[in-house]
Symmetry: C2
Subunit: 393 residues, 2 copies
């Protein structure tokens, strides 16, 4: 093992990431504190902080009068005006964008209804370009761009394997975006990723809203289909092929036919088709699953009509709770308007179950925010994990 320049660069990036994480998680700190907390030499911390100052990523903070002990220290803090992580959620009925600063604070959020039946990739490219320009126009260096998609994702390849509701089949989205943005000045440094929308949403749910601060969390979203995002000890559970949480075809019933050709799938019993079958209410032209669920919830006999849906939810949620032992199950999407029926039923059923009470069932309060916030957090990950250097502004 000989010292190689590549390894030195690795170490520098990792040490920088350690300093950035401390500033993000513990707030302003002096160089001495950073050295003590990171275990790095003071000189090393000094060099790193100097470099981060040059990049605009950290700034001198106002020194707090530290009770008069020891010599005064000059704390530094993350500067929110330097870099941004961008998250775009492409969904069936809308597109949402969130930009976060280096500390994870929201810079802006935008939501637009989708105008076409399918989603041409060109629209995603145009939106990405516009958002990158917006960041640069504000003097922010974009660190990364993550696109959240409702479908099966090959994250390593940046590929959407299947997103039936977008009409996408085997789309190399990250490569298409990287190529298309490649000509824009500075965009070569923007890392493009693709992730599943529920995986993004569960991160956002653990950060804000009803499950903020939770580290073991299941987020369950109902749209046309049904999917879960799972957080275990604060990390998104992905599985060996990135398919963890694809529970729409978990068998919770017996004979009900599913669009996948099998029978008794969870989404055949609790997805939009099941809601339509249960209520007899027709879907209005252009109506999204959330709007439909809202109308259904308004029916006087909603609870009775939803009985088969509720039972399917009870069985599916019980399976996830027994396997994963989350502290909270968050219901999102079309399940939110049905919360008055679903939440008490699920809580009763979980309390009767083997693991007893102790798992909370809650409704997402993030609305259209969830997936794009999680995607923007994902866009910041590489820098905080030391896999990528901070680019200059």
């Amino acid at each position: 093992m000989d010292a190689a320049p590549a390894a030195t660069e690795d170490v520098r990036r990792r040490n920088t990431a350690a300093v950035l994480r401390l500033l993000r998680d513990s707030g302003p700190a002096s160089r001495a504190d950073l050295a003590r907390l990171s275990g790095l030499a003071k000189a090393t911390v000094g060099t790193i902080v100097g470099h981060l100052q040059q990049l605009g990523a950290v700034a001198e903070a106002t020194a707090s009068p530290a009770a008069g002990r020891g010599r005064p220290s000059t704390p530094v803090e993350l500067d929110g005006r330097s870099h941004a992580g961008l998250g775009i959620e492409v969904n069936v009925d809308y597109v949402a964008v969130t930009a976060l600063d280096l500390a994870g604070r929201e810079l802006w959020f935008e939501e637009r209804p989708r105008t076409s039946a399918t989603m041409p990739v060109e629209q995603v490219v145009a939106l990405a370009r516009e958002q990158l320009d917006r960041a640069r126009g504000q003097g922010l260096a974009p660190l990364g761009l993550t696109v959240a998609v409702p479908g099966l994702i090959d994250r390593a390849a940046g590929r959407v394997v299947q997103a039936p509701n977008l009409g996408w089949d085997d789309v190399p989205l990250a490569a298409l975006l990287t190529d298309a943005l490649g000509d824009d000045p500075g965009s070569a440094e923007v890392a493009v990723s693709v992730d599943n929308d529920a995986n993004c949403a569960v991160r956002a749910e653990s950060l804000r809203g009803v499950a903020a601060g939770t580290r073991d969390l299941v987020y369950l979203t109902g749209t046309v289909g049904l999917g879960a995002g799972i957080l275990a000890e604060g990390r998104v559970l992905r599985g060996s092929r990135g398919l963890a949480g694809e529970v729409g075809h978990l068998r919770v019933g017996t004979t009900q036919p599913c669009a996948c050709g099998r029978e008794g799938c969870w989404e055949a019993l609790a997805g939009q088709r099941a809601l339509v079958a249960a209520s007899g209410l027709e879907v209005d032209p252009g109506e999204d699953p959330v709007g439909y669920a809202r109308r259904l919830a308004g029916l006087p006999d909603a609870e009775t009509l939803l009985r088969p849906v509720t039972e399917a939810m009870e069985r599916g949620v019980a399976a996830l709770v027994l396997g994963l032992d989350p502290s909270v199950v968050v219901l999102g999407g079309a399940f939110v308007p049905l919360g008055d029926v679903l939440v008490p039923a699920l809580e009763r059923s979980l309390a009767r179950g083997f693991t007893g009470p102790g798992v909370r069932v809650a409704l997402s309060s993030l609305g259209l925010h969830a997936a794009s916030v999680g995607a923007a957090l994902d866009a910041l990950d590489d820098v905080y994990a030391g896999r990528r250097s901070l680019p200059a502004r």
Copy 2:
């Protein structure tokens, strides 16, 4: 934030752990390599290595002739003769012990049949004392002792909440062991932990045997009941209350009564009672579930008799695979003798399922080793995570 001695000690322990992890994971390395790979200052590494040498934990290794480049470096390596991690599995029919050295290499393994119907805690204490003495007799400093128990465990409290098959109900096992061993010279430094047997076994399965090197893994063991240990990205998935993998009462059937008072539980359909119901074969006096399953597997019409058991396994395994996306499902305990029937049936069923082929089903080859090896690994964790200092021999 003022520099406090406690924090300095923290940093020293963390840095020592980083050096130990490098030596464990990458093998012998020079001090210069360790400094480069850890990002620590060379002087810091020198101090740490010196301290580890004093403790006997590392020794000078034979320098490899490094192709003549640069000045010769003296590599150091973990010394297997200094410290041990002890794992004890207490099960229904046997007690097993594994001792691992600091590098995770096996020092010894022992298995003894259990002699009494219930397992008095005093027997565990006596066994622990004997094993600690054995380690000290060989000049090894015991780092920790973890006891693997088939039951619900409160790990933070070191408490066995419930282990019906041992006749244990709310036993503060870690505290009882710590108190009982407290009078022995040196035992105050032995950290005692308790863990679920399947959680221990899944770590061993990822290290050796049919699933070695796997990082996303479900281990499913059948005894009187049924339980799972789950590994996600190489870490044991525990859940918010330590109950992750307690899938014995996952509902995979409809009306079959379970000992828990509910109906259709997985273990009511695939645990020992279900095997007896399916085969009509009586349990011999003193026969363990594995022996019983072996006799059942020898029946000429075993496959037909096991049809309801196989179907329950298909549904339960499908739920775990959809939720967790493991690369391998390892069957242990009483499922091993039934492997000729179960493995092909499960593989066919998974291939027909939503996530398709790509998940391997394998039979555990570790036998009685699995849980005690995992427990011994657990006993080494605190030092490698920097939560505990290496004690002197």
